[in-house]
Structure formats: C-alpha cells, structure tokens
C-alpha cells in the first residue's frame, strides 16, 4: 500500500466519521432540545421522564449504549435496511444521538436558567402558551448563551464517533486499523496521522463555534 492508497483510505475514513457525526449532530440537537424542554415543562410526568432518561443514558458508558443498540435492537428485530453496513450505521447514530442528547439537554438547561424570569413572565402576559414561550422567547436566548459549552459537547461527540469502529462502521479508526495491518513499518506515523485528522476536524468545528459565538452572543 503506497502513500496515495493510504491517503485514499484515510479520506474514506474521514468521510465515514463526518457522516456519522453529521447525522448524530442533527439528531442530538433535536432530541436534546426536546429533553431540555421537557425538563422545564410544567407537567411533572414529562419532567420525571426526561430526568430519568438523562440520568440513565448519561451515566452509561457510550460503548455499552452502542453495544445495546448494535446487538439489542437486531435482537428485537428492529432493522433499518437490507445491508448490515447501513444497519450498523443507523445503530451507531442512534447510540451517539441518544448519548449526546443528554449532554445537549443539560447544557441547554443551564442556558435556560440564565434567561431572566421577566422574559417568560412577559411572554405569558402577552398570551403566549408554554411551548410558544419556550420556543420563541426562552430557547433562542438560551442557545445563544450556551454556544461555547455546546461546542465542547459537540467536539466530544466528534471524538466519540471513534467507538463506532468496533461495531461494523467504516470511519477514521477503522481506516487506521486497516492501514496498520498492511503497513507495520509505519505504525507510529499512522497513529499520528489519525490524531492529526481528528485534530483538524475538531479545530474546524471550534472555528465554527467561535464564529457563531461572535455573531450571536448576548451581552447581559
């Protein structure tokens, strides 16, 4: 395997990582927002459900969460397509989403706490319902406050995609393993190369969040 083939292998690995990351990002932002909304809702049952979910999933190692998704869901006959690679991709994104959403929800909850009570009171005074208050007044402000910590959560998720390699997913770690197997003379450079690839992806994400923070920050 020469340099070009190695590069090609790594590029396909990066593509796999980016794919996992993107789908799980959208999923965990949606689920995380829902969970945060449930946690501050006036209905006790929703609050209890959300905090139970968060406490269970957040405190389970991601490897185990993925294990349950990859081996438990097929056992329950939950499948998403005819090929195992697609199934494994969906299982991995479910696990990543389920896990990261807890951290997104907790981050958002702390953002909601920074929104002055007067905002919600004013919204209620003009006749907005709870979901309108949350969706149109509180959450937009909460999101803008928590951009830096949310960035850390998202970067952690990017690195967590590496666990998917153990469950039939093609991504960076998988590419690295393939490369090491054929190029035993280059183990250390290959390990550094993989670390560098993660670093670059994470730095790009960091820049995006810095930019968002500058644009959207609310000074109180």
């Amino acid at each position: 395997m020469d340099f070009l083939q190695l590069l090609e292998l790594f590029l396909s690995g990066i593509w796999g990582t980016v794919r996992l990351f993107t789908v799980a990002l959208v999923g965990s932002l949606l689920l995380g927002t829902l969970l945060a909304g449930m946690r501050v809702s006036p209905t006790p049952i929703l609050r209890i459900a959300a905090s139970t979910y968060i406490n269970v999933v957040r405190n389970t190692p991601l490897t185990l969460v993925m294990f349950f998704c990859a081996f438990g869901l097929p056992f329950l006959d939950i499948r998403f397509g005819s090929t195992s690679s697609f199934n494994s991709f969906v299982y991995a994104t479910i696990a990543l989403t389920a896990y990261t959403a807890c951290f997104v929800a907790e981050t958002l909850k702390s953002g909601i706490a920074t929104v002055p009570v007067g905002q919600a009171e004013a919204a209620r005074a003009v006749g907005l319902t709870f979901s309108q208050t949350l969706g149109q007044v509180v959450l937009p402000q909460a999101f803008r406050t928590v951009i830096p910590p949310l960035g850390s959560v998202i970067i952690a998720m990017l690195k967590n995609t590496s666990i998917a390699s153990a469950f039939n997913n093609r991504e960076l770690i998988s590419a690295m393993r393939n490369a090491i197997e054929v190029r035993g003379d280059l183990v250390i450079p290959l390990l550094f190369g993989t670390a560098l690839a993660y670093l670059i992806l994470a730095l790009i994400l960091g820049r995006v969040f810095d930019h968002l923070e500058k644009k959207l920050v609310i000074l109180r």
Partner: protein, 299 residues
C-alpha cells in the same frame, strides 16, 4: 459511605458481567475432535543456553525475566479465560518452548498483551523481547522487526454453523461474513469476494456471537483461530473449505538481533524435530495429523 461504595461496586460488577455476556461459555480445557485431551507438554529448560552476543537475551538473562508479547483474546492460540491470569494456547506453548531453549523456565516468562497496533512499537522500544502472537511475516513488517520461524503456516478459512451449506469462499455471495475490523482476512474478503457482505467488529468473539444468533453466516480469519473457536463451541460450528491464503506465523524479534534470531530458529527446529511442537499443537488445537510443519526460513 462504605455501604454506598459496596453497592456501587456491585453495580459495576453487574455491568461488567453484562458487557461480557457475548462471549459465551468458557471451555475447561481444549479438546480435539475425538474428545480425547492431549497431555500438557513439558519443555526441558536448557540451562547451558548462551546467546551472550544477543543484547536482548543478555538483558533478559540479567533480570531473570523474558518478556514475551502474546494475544489474550484468541482461543486455542493465545487466550486468557475468565478467572484465569495465565494465557494459554498454541502461541503460548511455542513461547514456552522457545523460552526453555533460551534458558528460561515457564515462570520466568512475563506475558505482555500485544494487539495489532502495538506489536512493532513494542519491539522497537524494547517493551517486549519477542512476540508470539499470530504474527504474520510480511515484507513491510520486516523493515522494522525481524522474524524467526515460521512456526506455523495458517491460512484464511471459514467458520460456519454445523448445519450450514457454505463449503468454501465461493459460496459467500450474498452472505454476511464477519471478521475483525482492519484485519488482513477482512481486507481479503473486501478485495476478492466482493459479492459477500462484510461485517467487522473489534473482536472475533462478537463475530461468534453474531454467528450463534444467525446475524452472520460465516466468520473468517486464519484457520488456527477458527479451530480454536470450533473447539470452544464443540458441535455448534465447523471449519470449512481449504485455507485460501497463506499466513506464515513468525516469532517477532527486535530488528538486527541476528544472534537471537538464530537461537530462536534453532529452538523452533529442535521443537519440531523432537515432537514438542506436535504435542503442543495437539494439546491446544486438536489433531495434528493433517497439519504440515513449516520449514524455518533463515533469511
């Protein structure tokens, strides 16, 4: 506080048990096809061994310990069963055999786990004195480490359910074939048997779990490893087909230690001549009747 700690520990142990539940039963002892168990081989320690020109050997002799890199997750070859600390398997027997010839008794061997990604770095940095861990000799690896042997020529093969109609790699079209992520066998399937659907995990035991549940139709890797699993789950699985690749297993040694390589090659040849090799094979992997002893390659 103490109570809390205890219950936390209990939960942790429960979780560990859960995460290990995919590995199935552990065998009491490896058995061959007839159910008769070969005697554990004993190796005579060569007290007069003198490889003083080898810096690796000399350093090991000075500390009284030889550090050997092995695998700990491959039944039949190098495996640590639950509740045990000592690894066992054919690789381990080869390690003991070579160590004995070099003047180290079994209790002077320090087994270090070497997974695929740390084999070359461990040899280069001197963390291990030698590696006996299903280590296939190839030219890329030879650039940075030396190999004695081969002591066994494995070949890629298939493990299938006992009642499966898969008879060889040509029957794999449309079937789910499981192997370890990044391994040579997985890469072979991807390159040469493109009609098969490849599933990869980080360990073979997950593949075997899939094979048991019917999620996978076959597990593929070197025949020696598959023989190990077939022996572990007697009657459930069978190894089929003629091995369709050649993987010469060598003893990995630090680059440039010519003396040590000669000594290890001598030890392997001696073991093959005096029957220790065959006994080690039958003790760990089953009948050696149809198994060819390889020729040591003194390159």
């Amino acid at each position: 506080m103490k109570k809390l700690r205890l219950s936390v520990a209990a939960v942790a142990i429960g979780m560990l048990a859960l995460s290990g539940c995919g590995q199935g039963g552990t065998p009491d002892a490896p058995a061959d096809g007839d159910g008769a168990k070969a005697e554990a081989p004993e190796y005579t320690v060569n007290d007069s061994a003198d490889v003083a020109d080898s810096p690796t050997w000399k350093a090991a002799k000075d500390t009284g310990k030889i550090t050997i890199g092995v695998k700990k997750d491959q039944p039949g070859l190098g495996n640590v069963t639950a509740g045990s600390e000592q690894p066992e398997g054919f690789d381990i027997e080869i390690a003991k055999m070579v160590a004995a010839q070099l003047g180290f008794s079994p209790d002077q061997i320090d087994y270090t786990e070497t997974v695929s990604a740390n084999r070359e770095p461990f040899l280069q940095q001197g963390n291990v004195d030698m590696i006996v861990a299903t280590y296939t000799i190839n030219d890329e690896r030879r650039k940075v480490v030396d190999f004695a042997g081969p002591y066994y020529v494995a070949g890629q093969d298939l493990l299938v359910a006992a009642d499966s109609d898969i008879a060889g790699p040509d029957d794999l079209a449309g079937k789910k074939v499981c192997s370890v992520d990044g391994s040579t066998p997985a890469q072979n399937i991807e390159d040469k048997y493109t009609d098969a659907e490849l599933v990869t995990y980080d360990t073979y035991s997950k593949c075997v779990t899939d094979l048991q549940s019917g999620s996978a139709d076959a597990v593929t890797t070197d025949d020696a490893i598959l023989r190990g699993y077939a022996a572990q789950y007697e009657g459930e699985f069978k190894v089929v087909g003629e091995p369709f690749t050649e993987e010469p297993y060598g003893v990995g040694l630090p680059k440039g230690d010519e003396e040590l390589r000669e000594a290890v090659n001598d030890a392997l040849e001696k073991g093959m001549d005096d029957g220790d090799w065959t006994q080690a094979f039958e003790y760990t992997l089953g009948s050696a009747d149809d198994v060819d002893m390889p020729e040591v390659d003194r390159y």
